[in-house]
């Protein structure tokens, strides 16, 4: 069962265990430059607002009603990362335009171990993009579906689905009870927003029109997708919940809901110049290999150059100086004890 609470999706499996609760939030973030550099993790700038598509039966396309799920508004000048929180272990599969973000394969409802097509929370605290190499992702950035930039369009040749698709499987009750005492602390990746600069920027940066947005591959970021350390049999494959998250631009959001989307976030350059922090996450866990299929997806800037198009008006490289290191198992501010 999935509930929408405070702009987060809350997955609950009371039939499996009372603790089997997973929260998934969609964090707004800076669009990192789409250049040849590798960037650390950008901050969270607050949650994207979420609404049930069923609440707007007359405003959304028929296909959205058929898909069910929720919707969120996204500017092309921003990016998105997905935050997983909760203490109970979950296997989570994420796709964009029904293209698996870890393997690049087409969507299937089940789990696949070799190659691993899912992530494991809470070991995996977040996902920022498509896994193109071991330890490297390309950031999720929104582009109008049909413009040819999304990973879906590049891999399938069709602009059919758009949006994000998520399915979560809890750990079996017996497996959870066996391992519950071996757990580390949760990590928080905090957010900063230079509010004045953001408020000064123009809100109307997009034209209304097509409803659907698809996720393309943006700049490169250092992020590992961790190998599943549980036994594959520990996952409760009889219990799962899935959700279609539709993406739309800010103007269409306003037309559907009558409400304002959040203000435009700062650019990476403005954020860095303000001296605000980026993040680096360290864990001893083993990382999975990147997807060869996803590595063939051209980034938005690269494809734009080929098309003679300028899809990203603000894309200059950024010098990152203030990086906060987050380490798995350590609480914020806790001093690490080494070997001596």
């Amino acid at each position: 069962m999935i509930e929408l609470q405070n702009d987060s999706l809350v997955f609950r499996f009371p039939d499996v265990h009372k603790d089997a609760v997973l929260r998934i939030g969609f964090q707004r973030t800076l669009r990192i430059p789409d250049d040849d550099k590798k960037y650390p993790l950008p901050p969270g700038l607050g949650l994207f607002p979420l609404q049930h598509v069923d609440d707007f039966p007359n405003g959304v396309p028929e296909l959205w009603t058929q898909h069910g799920g929720v919707m969120l508004p996204m500017y092309q000048s921003e990016a998105l990362w997905i935050n997983f929180s909760g203490d109970y272990p979950f296997a989570i599969k994420v796709a964009a335009g029904k293209i698996n973000a870890v393997t690049g394969e087409d969507w299937t409802d089940g789990l696949h171990r070799d190659p691993q097509d899912y992530m494991v929370a809470p070991e995996q605290p977040w996902l920022d993009g498509f896994c193109v190499e071991k330890g490297l992702i390309r950031q999720f950035v929104a582009m109008p579906l049909g413009s040819g930039y999304s990973a879906e369009e590049q891999l399938t040749g069709k602009a059919e689905h758009g949006g994000l698709q998520i399915v979560a499987f809890p750990l079996r009750r017996k497996a959870y009870e066996r391992i519950r005492k071996e757990r580390g602390a949760c990590i928080r990746r905090v957010g900063y927003a230079p509010a004045e600069e953001a408020a000064m920027m123009c809100l109307e940066d997009e034209a209304p029109g097509d409803f659907d947005m698809g996720l393309g591959a943006g700049g490169q970021m250092e992020q590992e997708i961790y190998d599943d350390s549980y036994g594959f049999d520990d996952w409760d494959l009889r219990h799962s919940s899935r959700c279609f998250v539709h993406l739309t631009n800010s103007m269409v959001w306003r037309a559907i809901t009558g409400g304002d989307p959040p203000t435009v976030p700062p650019t990476s350059s403005e954020y860095s110049k303000a001296g605000l922090p980026w993040f680096d996450y360290y864990s001893d866990s083993k990382a999975v290999e990147g997807s060869e299929k996803l590595a063939t997806v051209k980034s938005v800037a690269e494809l734009g150059k080929e098309k003679g198009d300028v899809p990203l008006p603000e894309n200059q490289s950024v010098k990152v100086e203030n990086v906060i290191k987050l380490r798995k198992g350590l609480k914020e501010g806790q001093v690490r004890e080494g070997a001596f």
Binding site: M1, I2, E3, L4, L9, H52, D54, T65, Q66, H67, G68, G69, V70, K98, H161, Q165, S241, R242, C243, F244
Partner: protein
Amino acid sequence: MSQFGAFIRDRRERLRREDSRFSVRQLARRLGVEPSYLSKVERGETAPPSEAKILLLAKELNEDADVLLAMAGKVSSDLQEVIRKRPELFGQLIRELKDMPEHAVLRLVREVRDGGW
């Protein structure tokens, strides 16, 4: 004296002990009614006022608007609209919920619907 009138009088009098703006005269002025009319309402000598006036009264007395409307024998127009849109569904739902304990009603959640994709 009606339950609605007595309740209004009791709340207003309590506030008036601390603040003279809650005299019948001053409160009636803010509500846009005659003091004699508010007095009659409090004594139950006339029917409770309109929904709009009850909403104003709830705001002035810092009381829950739905509770005041219910005491006046009314249901707020937004709730009526909700029920009118899906009368069969909400009729059935409310009847099923009527005997449930409050904690169970509060745990009533809305599921994110999964469709075909």
